[in-house]
Amino acid sequence: MDFSLNSEQILLKDTVTRFLGAHSPFESLAAARAEPFGWRSGVWQGMVELGLAGLPFAEDDGGFGGGPEEVMIVMEALGAAQPPEPYLTTAILGGTILKSASESARAGLIGQIAEGTLRLAVAWQEAATRWSADEITASAEPSGSGFLLSGRKAFVLDLAGASHVVIAARLGAGLGLFLAAADRLTGRTTGYATPDGRRAGDIDLGGLWLEADALIVAPDEGGEVLSRALDAAAAALACEAVGAMQAALDLTVEYLKTRKQFGVPIGSFQALQHRAADMFVALEQARSMAMRAIMAQSSLPSEASAREIAAAMVQIIDASRYIGQQAVQLHGGIGMTEEYRLGILFRRLTMIGRLFGDRDHFLDRLVAGPSLLERIEP
């Protein structure tokens, strides 16, 4: 058993943190959101040059051979800084799907991610799916040498700046995963901002024709591949949440030390001290569960790993809610303002439990299975 980072991992952590501090300070985020895609190509390119985009992929595929722990390190740093660049959707959510595509289908694509030229969005949700892939109704049918798609996709994260979009659609009795270049979707998308300072969009698939080789994961595997990718994305998101919670707690403690009321620092009030202590405890418990989710991916079969990730998300969502709310409360008015850095952290912490499923969604998964406690006794 071991919870420590090795020296390369510590170096990675320092490098990413330093990069973000230099190139994506909090003060730059408002301008970033005003960019055409809602993020900065320069910062994205910088992340690519650090090797972050290719990090989670095998070296044979053109990646840099990082594992879940390296993903954890990057996501925690991103969590603290909240740059809007499309890392999670490209490298983790879309990337995990690409890893499962047939070798011919993914030939070169992962290399393009590593080089920063391929940016992925994953169109899996629809207006009425409520985080359940079982509810997907968009469909594809063979047509000529390819497929004709129909239906609508919704809540596609980072759609605006994506170069390619993975589209999940019913195909026969299964779920096909298609890859389409963004220019094929011109005129079919509706974009909008999200509460956490990112972008998302809807897609009208009606009459979209794609070539045969756009089907990168066959319908008999599509459901499983998508759900594994969503798990990987949730585990990464859990780590991002830890970074964001730590940043929110740090800001709060700093504020409690400096802000004065009734002539003394408000951090001297016992009720506020105890609240901060509870925030710390919540954070450490959440961190423990995020670490479990990360470790589960490399040590457990996918079913057991999915349960560990669901358990982590329950804890992470609770802690994100508590720490986010209390950070705002302890700040008072200043915590409600957009110009203060806590705002973006609070809004992201609120959305952590709405991106890939809410607390009920993840708890449902735990309730459906055997006791969680059995798992820890191999």
Binding site: G38, A127, G191, Q329, T337, R354
Partner: protein, 392 residues
């Protein structure tokens, strides 16, 4: 003991409902019902409609446009307006500066200001809080120096709600620097277009422009715009803050939101799994409905015992602030749950017109975090309960 309304009060309530149905413009009613807001113009028009009916400032003395209603009827009125929902009167005039003026102001001030408040001809805003004086209001730094025929105010105010629409502001400023904290403060009425007064919007995390910073740079205020006695401003401010404590429960709003949640949860506008079929959601909703009933009943008990009277700081009403804010926040959170992924649509920013049914969920949730912060943070309310009621 009887929770039922008398036949007269029931008839009164039905009259209110009929009036609201007949008088509130349909597009506005629809917008409010789906989480939207009234524009300043709509609020002005609606206030005049109420004023024509004699109901724009129900709690005021009859001579200045009040209704003479019992506290219970005032509560029923507020509850019906919140539940309908119809726009609520702008509190800065009707509930804050209005009562100060008719209680402590000169006859000239009463005649000049009260009729215009009752019709929202004047839009007032509040100049109390400062960057370094929030819950600790007595430590305010804005000062007024004597000048020919009046005073010159210099300082900075913060968290001034809707100041961008206002043409008048009521301001606390220090007029005697030698006095102790709470003393030596006076209460001024200031036109927003006074030279030297500058307003800077504060952007909030819900994307709204709701509050502002105000910079006073040697702003002249004539003597006639000082309310009551000089250096007694702190007393007037306490009077003002203790008013309408029962209004802080805002149970009607919570009930209206819970109804909307139940409708949306039973049949999500976009189809798909209905949250109301989920056992955990059902329980959360029922629990909040119980909370709403409990708070409403506590409010009725306080009103019935005379605890909602003007100028009287009944510490029990701290319960209303505590539980009222918590209930509002909890219903906003449940709305976020119902919206689910639809809460991802942010109505501000570079949208191109997306499905909007869940688009108020996140902004509402973000915005209502303020309820446990302003008007005496909930931590302050707990201290009031502990000290004033429990004697700790």
């Amino acid at each position: 003991m009887d929770l039922r309304l008398s036949a007269e009060d029931l008839a009164f309530r039905d009259e209110l409902r009929a009036f609201l149905r007949a008088s509130l413009p349909a597009p506005l009613a629809r917008r409010l019902r789906t989480g939207g807001k009234a524009s300043p113009e709509e609020l002005r028009a609606w206030t005049r409609t109420l004023a024509d009916r004699g109901w724009s400032v129900p709690h005021w003395p009859v001579e200045w446009g009040g209704t003479g209603w019992s506290p219970l009827r005032q509560m029923i009125f507020r509850d019906e307006v919140q539940q309908f929902p119809a726009p609520e009167p702008l509190s800065f005039g009707a509930s804050m500066v209005g009562p100060v003026i008719y209680t402590f102001g000169s006859q000239a001030q009463k005649e000049r200001f009260l009729p215009r408040i009752a019709r929202l001809d004047d839009w007032w805003c509040q100049g109390f809080s400062e960057p370094e004086a929030g819950s600790d209001l007595a430590s305010l730094r804005t000062r007024a120096e004597p000048a020919e025929g009046g005073w010159r105010i210099t300082g900075q105010k913060a968290w001034t709600s809707l100041g961008q629409h206002a043409n008048w502001i009521f301001v606390l400023a220090r007029t005697d620097r030698t006095a102790k904290k709470q003393n030596g403060i006076s209460f001024f009425l200031v036109p927003m277009d006074s030279p030297g007064l500058k307003l800077v919007p504060t952007e909030l995390i819900d994307g709204s422009h709701e509050v502002n910073e105000l910079f006073f740079d040697d702003v002249f205020v004539p003597d006639e715009n000082v309310v009551g006695e000089l250096n007694k401003g702190w007393d007037y401010a306490r009077f003002l803050l203790s008013n309408e404590r029962t209004g802080q429960a805002r149970v009607g709003l919570a009930k209206a939101r819970l109804r909307r949640i139940r409708e949306l949860a039973a049949a999500p506008p976009d189809g798909g799994p209905a949250p109301l079929d989920h056992p955990a959601f059902q329980r959360r909703l029922a629990e909040l409905e119980v909370q709403a009933l409990a708070l409403e009943t506590t409010l009725l008990r306080i009103v019935a015992s005379g605890g909602g009277e003007e100028g009287e700081a009944n510490p029990v009403s701290s319960i209303l602030k505590l539980r009222g804010s918590e209930l509002q926040q909890a219903t906003a959170e449940l709305l976020l749950d119902v919206a689910g992924p639809a809460a991802l649509v942010w109505p501000y920013g570079p949208g191109e017109g997306a499905p909007l049914w869940g688009a108020d969920a996140a902004p509402t949730y973000f915005n209502l975090r303020k309820l446990s912060i302003y008007g005496g943070a909930n931590e302050i309310q707990r201290t009031i309960v502990a000290r004033s009621i429990l004697g700790l």
